[in-house]
Amino acid sequence: MTVTRRQFLKGVGAAAGAAAVTGVLGGAAETVLAGRDDPLRSLPVDRVVRTTCSPNCTGSCGQLAFVRDGNIVKVQQAADYPDKSYNPRGCMKGISYHLLVHGPDRIKTPLVRDGDRGSGKFREATWEEELDRIASEFKRIGAAWGWDSIHVFGQVPGSGYIQKGANYRACTALGMTHGTSFDFNGDLPMGMPITFGVQNAEHESKDWANSRFILAVGANPLETRIPDAHFIEDALEKGARLVVVDPTFSSTASKADAWIKIKPGTDAVLGLALCRRVMEAGKADWDFMRTYTDAALLVRADTHKRLRADELAPGQALDPGPATGIGLGGYGKKALPAGTAPEVPGAVAPAADAPPPPRFVVWDTASQKPVIVGTERLGIPAGVDAALEGTFTLTLADGSQVQATPGFALVKAEVDAWTPEKAAEITGIPAEDIVRLADAYAAERPAAIIMGGGSNHWYHGDLNGRALALLASLTGNVGRSGGGFSVYVGQYKVRVDTSPWWNIGDHKAKVVPSVYFVRGRTETMNKNVPYPKNGFKALFCTFANMFIQGMDVNRLHQTLDGCELVVVMDHQMTDTVGYADIVLPATTWYEKTDLTATPLHPFLQIQQPALPPVGQARSELWVWQEIIKRIDPAIFDASFDMTEEQAIQAILEKGGGKGGPTEGITLEQLKAGPVRLKVPDPDVAFVRQIDELLPFPPRSLPAPLAATAAFIPTRRIEFYKEDDRFIELGETVPTYKPPHDDSVHDPAKYPIALLSPHSKWRIHSSYANVAWLNEITGGRAPVLLAPETAAERGIAEGDLVELSNTRGKVRAWAHITKAAAPGTATLFEGWWSRQLGGGKSVNELTSSEVNPIHEIQFVANMWAPSTGWKDCRCEVTRV
């Protein structure tokens, strides 16, 4: 016992003012400062280390590790955000992490398969043996099949820019392909790149507190965004209203002013019907639509493409000159004077021989003439009354005539078809509730839409997003604090320019959407996808329970069977580890250095080791350094002979220039605690576009601006899409299509919609093995069934039931509750196979079908196939 009474007294003095000391200790002080077992004193520790929890949950919560005798004996939120509204930030999972660091499933030594693949039989090995084997096998496979046949998969780079970045850097150096997570996880909200030209963009969670109305669609932040959920309560305390749209009565629904029970997969219908009502009630913000969206731009009736100014006969259209757009109705209040093109952050001067950017055409009802609109800035030239409806005849350069109509007229024609009655039929929501919801939403500004995985995880999730984006735009809520349309799924966000670490000079890793690893190439695959010529021959899987957590997992196992080498790096003995040939013991984030940030709060944070690696665990960077040394020492010398801190420094420097996200941020500051990035406060998506008339999109790091700007050639919010495939598939405007799996699994035979939402008890499959949490939940998987659904099948509470479709089957235990909608089964994803009654996971049933719309363009994780986990039918039977 080395803690002295003086030390404690000193501690108390520093902790509280003199009044508190007297008050707290009172006369008891003399008697309580005794020995180790003094019940009135905390037991001493060796040290307290500030680090960051960052599984794939978007939390990135600051945590303190309390270390005693080489063990973490407590993890508790650091609660040190300078913006105090964020404190304490952290959930019951994060604060039980030491049970994983030191728990029974921890992998402490290298392991080599000692039986058939998947038998789970291993023998202990040495690092030397494993690294030599990986290096020589990679060389053999690289020579035989091409280095791109070696695939690296890791979840998710946003959760650790340095260690997960090391995977990218290794791919860059060796020519291996890297997989994806944001699109693979179905989290990429494809409505965002399609409509706004960004990977995604959202409001920091603090901004929820500024809302007057929060519409949560397929989102359950009370369970899946635990550190942020209180901001919703803050809004409610200030009088805001919360409406939750969800087939299932969730925890978030329990807090809502109204729970709108919707049939799964029909959110787009609700969105469109709400838009219709907003317009009908005279609540649409046409100034917003004209200033910022493509509403007024003319579309040719013959080709369904947007009319380009250079297609018109010369002199026909008025040309007000470049950058003459102004904000209507008071919008664009911080814009430079008309005629000045704003400087676009991240824009690179085009090559001298590049074609000039396209210019578009609106119809001025005042002069009855076409007017040219460029892309240098948003807005409409002063005095122009841009038509949003009507059909106009124009003369083309070749003298022929063409009919054209404002894009919005086409959007409106579709929206108008969605009467409350028709929407009620499809969504199951009473028509009068749809009208009341629209009126209540439109009555309040700012009003926020929060879209979650329940809405996004569909084959046609992009259509859900496009309809809701239209609703937010029609009501002028985009770019406004407290408003917006935000999709919070996935720890995708790379908030700083990581290129100095992920790339080597100008070389970047070849990234292949991982859904193609599951199902091979599709006929419609974008030609820019660097799909390996000989397919996948080796897999290096890190920090991912891919073999049960990937979708359509039985199909995935076929690819796996074709792999000549499967390496898995993890710190827990997951199901996936059981299929490895070689198992590498990984450090947890309590044992290594990394850099992270998240979409939900704009703080940059580091992870720093609280402990030396447990057992023989090692970091990703160390592993790649060792592999590369063995493959080619020259590559090591040139590109891998650096520490984590040097990598962090390089990233800080890259973004540290004037106006850069890391301007003024130093490693020393990060070691002491979280540092807010140089972003607006509150961080509101698109605020500069709205205030300064900056063309869309803002840059999506780490991609160059040009890559995502190509998604929206008008450089406006696009509700009309002109690419051939949108035209072919009838998706030029926001619309509705029934769930895709209805066409794969006949609903007559597979009458149950299988929902597999995120659980509050796990982050995907992480934390499934935390003993304390399993004491609470019972540690085995329930399937939520409505009383009717259960009764029709003779299922009683607690019965073992089987869920099956043509892709696979899984067993779990019935939990009968009215929270579940009739005709649905809810099996929260992420249980390990040992917690199920049979089968690998719910993902034996989920689908890997690829929507060809998602293949029109290709920027990995930005416009790429986003998968539909909830788009899945099955039958449920009692076992």
């Binding site: 803690v3 404690f8 501690g11 108390v12 520093a14 902790a15 509280a16 009044a19 508190a20 007297t22 008050g23 707290v24 009172g26 309580v32 019940p39 009135l40 004193r41 905390s42 037991l43 520790v45 060796d46 309390f66 005693r68 005798d69 063990n71 407590k74 508790q76 939120q77 609660a79 040190d80 304490p88 019951m92 039980s96 030491h98 029974p104 009370l222 369970e223 550190p227 959920a229 209180h230 309560e233 305390e237 009565f249 329990s254 807090k255 809502a256 002013d257 109204a258 729970w259 009341r436 605690g673 509050k760 935390v770 003993a771 304390w772 004491e775 609470i776 509750t817 009215k818 929270a819």
Partner: protein, 237 residues
């Protein structure tokens, strides 16, 4: 063994400031306010309690009751589904039922109103367990076990055959820090403070938000107050 430090003293300054109880009256009356509107049923308070106090497997000093049909499952009320949560730990009663029945004074009230449990004195008769109307007392029926092979937490474990329960983290209060559940509540639903100060946040909340005590009619007069969930507005204008 290296030099050890108080875990409070070792806190980084910003974290330490976050946990400070702050100024209180000369004669503080500690109360905990639990806001059921803000509570999201996440159990973080229970988990950190288990961690802070080295509460063994199978035992919880603090737990979350779902006001519903089972864990996170709603009940039906007039054709509508509803659910909220009731966090439950020792209520630190002004008139405790437990202290009255303890034959050896192992459980007793402090001057400031906290109800303490002395495991050195406890003889394991479990009278208090029966007497407590809130069912929050936990007994060490076996040798305490935990998921990791070492003692966790910030206090010493209690021996087999003794009673244990929430201490309001008195070992932290001594150092001017709020109880761990208050620190760790992501809902910001737990507020700790001094009822003797009429301007304290707890006093104000209890007054303004209709703070109530559990089983008020029993006359136990708990030092834990609850703020009821708000009324829902529906879709009406």
């Amino acid at each position: 063994m290296s030099d050890k430090v108080s875990p409070i003293e070792a806190l980084p300054p910003a974290s330490r400031a976050y946990g400070e109880i702050g100024a209180v009256s000369a004669d503080p009356r500690w109360v905990m306010v639990v806001d059921q509107e803000r509570c999201i049923g996440c159990w973080s308070c229970c988990v950190i309690c288990k961690s802070e106090n080295d509460v063994p497997d199978g035992m919880w000093w603090n737990r979350i009751n779902t006001v519903g049909d089972g864990l996170d499952t709603p009940y039906e009320e007039q054709g509508r589904l509803a659910m909220h949560w009731l966090p439950l730990a020792c209520q630190h009663c002004e008139n405790p039922a437990c202290t009255r029945v303890c034959p050896v004074s192992a459980t007793y009230s402090r001057e400031d109103g906290l109800v303490m449990q002395d495991s050195q004195r406890c003889i394991g008769c479990r009278y208090c367990l029966v007497a407590c109307p809130y069912g929050v007392r936990q007994f060490n029926w076996g040798r305490p076990e935990r998921p990791v092979p070492f003692d966790t937490g910030m206090v010493a474990p209690r021996p087999l055959g003794t009673m244990e329960k929430c201490t309001m983290c008195v070992h932290r209060i001594t150092d001017g820090q709020v109880p761990s559940c208050v620190w760790s509540c992501p809902g910001q639903a737990r507020i700790f403070g001094d009822l003797n100060d009429p301007d304290s946040k707890v006093s104000r909340l209890i007054r303004d938000r209709g703070g109530y005590q559990l089983l008020e009619e029993r006359g136990t007069d708990p030092h834990v107050y609850y703020l009821p969930p708000r009324r829902k507005r529906g879709l009406e204008p």
